[in-house]
Structure formats: C-alpha cells, structure tokens
Symmetry: C2
Subunit: 195 residues, 2 copies
Amino acid sequence: MKTKTVPPRAADRIRETARDLFYREGIRAIGVDEIVSRAGVTKPTLYRSFSSKDELAAAYLEDYDKAFWQRFELGSGEHPDDPRAQLRVYLEGLARRATQSGYRGCGLSNAAVEYPQGDHPARKVAEANKRALRKRLVAMAKAMGAAAPDELGDGLLLLIEGVYSSGQLFGKGGPARALVAIADRLIDASIPRKK
Amino acid sequence: MKTKTVPPRAADRIRETARDLFYREGIRAIGVDEIVSRAGVTKPTLYRSFSSKDELAAAYLEDYDKAFWQRFELGSGEHPDDPRAQLRVYLEGLARRATQSGYRGCGLSNAAVEYPQGDHPARKVAEANKRALRKRLVAMAKAMGAAAPDELGDGLLLLIEGVYSSGQLFGKGGPARALVAIADRLIDASIPRKK
DNA sequence: CGGCGATGTTACTGACCGGTACGTCCTGCC
DNA sequence: GGCAGGACGTACCGGTCAGTAACATCGCCG
C-alpha cells in the first residue's frame, strides 16, 4: 500500500489519448498540443513523463505491440495443440475488423510508413514487432507440417500485411473478406497430403 | 507547332522533385520550402502551378498512378494471351524491387496511411487506383479460369499490398522474396484441374 | 520595338510546431 | 504547524509551416 492507491492519472491519460489520436489520425498529423488538451493536462506534464514526442510515439507503439500479441495469441488458449486453428482465430477476427468502415490498419505498419528512417524510435518498435511476427508465423507453419515453412510463413505474413493495408483503403466490402478462404487454400496447398 | 517547343520547365521540375521527395520521405514530412529549394524555383512559382500543397500531392500521385500502370501492364505486351504470365512479369519485378534495401513501398498506399480522411485530394487518387487494380486483378483471375475469380483476385491483391508494406519493413531478406512462389501456389489451388 | 506571359526576388503573414523556464499548489512527514 | 518535495499550470521561446503581396526581370512573338 505504499504505492499510491490513485497513481496519478496524468501520464496514463496522456498515453491513452495519444494511443487513440495517433492511431486514428496518424502520428505526424497530431501535435502535442492536441494530445494534452484532449487528455486534460498540460504540456510540461507530458514532457515530465516522455522526453520527446518521438518517445511518446514509441511508447504508443509499445502499447500497440502488447495489445497486438494479445489478439494474436487469443486462439492459442482455445486450441492448444492446433496451430492452424490458432491462426484461424486471429485471421477471422482480423478479417472482421478490417472490413468495417473506419478501419485504420496496423499502427505499427502505419508508423513505419510515416517514419522511413531506420533510426527513429517509433520505427524501431515497429520493425521489432514485425520481425517477431514473421518468426512466429514460420514457427506456426512448421507446426502445421508445411513442406517449406519459411515460404508458407512469409506467405501468411504477406496476406496479413495486405489486409492491414487494403482494409483501410477499401473499408466495408474490401478484399479482406477473402482472407480466411485464401489462407485456407494456401495452407492446404503448402502441406503435403496426409491422407 | 503552336505549343511551346520548350514548355517552361518550372512546373515540371517541381513535379519531379515533389515526386522524389514525397515518395522517399513521405508527404507530411516534406515542406514546400524544401521542394522549391531543391527544384531550384521559388514558392510563388509553385503556387502558380498548384493551388495548394494538397493539390501538388494529388498531382504527384497521379504521376505515380500512371507509372504504376506502365509497370503493371508491362507483361501484357510480352504475353498477349496469357494472363497468368502477364501477372507473373509484374510480380517478379515487384519482388525484386521490394527486396532491395531502401524500398519504400507503394506511394499510393503510403499516402492513404498519411491521410486517413476520405475527402483529401491525395487519398481520392489513391483509392481510385486501388479500386481499378482490384478490378483488373479479378478480371485476370477470371481470364485464368479461376473457379472463384473474385476470391482469387482479392487474394492476389492482398499479396501485392502485403509486399508493398512488408517490403519497406524488412528490406533485403524480406518476405517479398516468397511472393512469386506463393502466388503460383495460390493460383494453382484456385484453378480447377484442367488435366 | 513593344508588349505580354512566365519566372524570380524579397518580404511578409498568422498559425502551429515541439519544447521549456518558472511559479504555484497540494500532500505527507516531522 | 510548518516545511520539503513532487505534481501541475501559466506563459513563453524560437523555429517552421503553408500561403501571399508587390515588384523586378527575362525572353519570346507579333
């Protein structure tokens, strides 16, 4: 009970507000003034918790990364020994979200578009997430019994990234609706017949 | 011969410079001052040819759209009656470009990330291009004899957009290297056996 | 030669950007 | 009760943003 029972909200509110605004509007499009005003705090408060806007953006992406893995691993609990079913849970949820109007894609991929230079703190978080995702997908492909797990893993990654991107371009009736069927077809075609 | 033999360079140089800078660094990241200084012109000159930065961005994307279709239809000349081979030509070139370091993805998709609001002139160009591409891919899938052309067309679009996005995230050894093999597998699995 | 359109020059605007020096208030502890 | 220290706000900084006004200069064409 030494830790404050009401751990001063300011920093958390800033993080939440930044998360919403950065995701919906883009990082470069949102100024710190708008963040602090919507969060009901002031700029010095923000800069006491984050050394710069870039660091705040990186923190936002760290949060996003955490939330992503939570979504991605949701199927692992439901189907502990069936990697294909695990992946399917994520793909179905993704296809649903990505075919709603207002979908904004992946915050991490979007950040990489906004910050092309490799040394930006936000980009580093994005790249690390994508490398981990690629590794995870290859591992899943291997567990599915794919003849060429690297290839299937990369194929799945291409499909997923394609959904992030096209989802925000097409909205409601977009190509993401075909995701599950396409992934199924691709996986089938990549696993040696087990008959 | 009434049209000027040397149509004053200024507007064209601005367009070219904007194209390079917007593509490599992003639209929001580049100010008009940098464009005019690199183009060797001055701001009033820019604003005599383009009513605003947003319109200049739209013009850049129009140019990009034109160049895109040129690349995309490159295989149509080489293989007039083989849609699968036509597409393959584009995919091979794309996979090559997207696995080089410094690849920046698709200028149109990137612009849509930078400008999420549907009424922005740049986004309109991007969306129109993507709708046309989707239509073209479905038509190609149909011409290939796909059982479900809409589905295959959308699957190909997902793969292509996935390459744009992941190409700029992974660079040299990225998942784009699997593009051609994956597309082949997917197409094979989507066309009724013709044996 | 006269004139006109395209371009350059200079200087400026008001808004907004990220970031900060400094004062104030509130809380907990002796 | 009073003081220390942390949390927060007020007010401001210099720089950059997109966009413009007023005027000078060049070169082509009649």
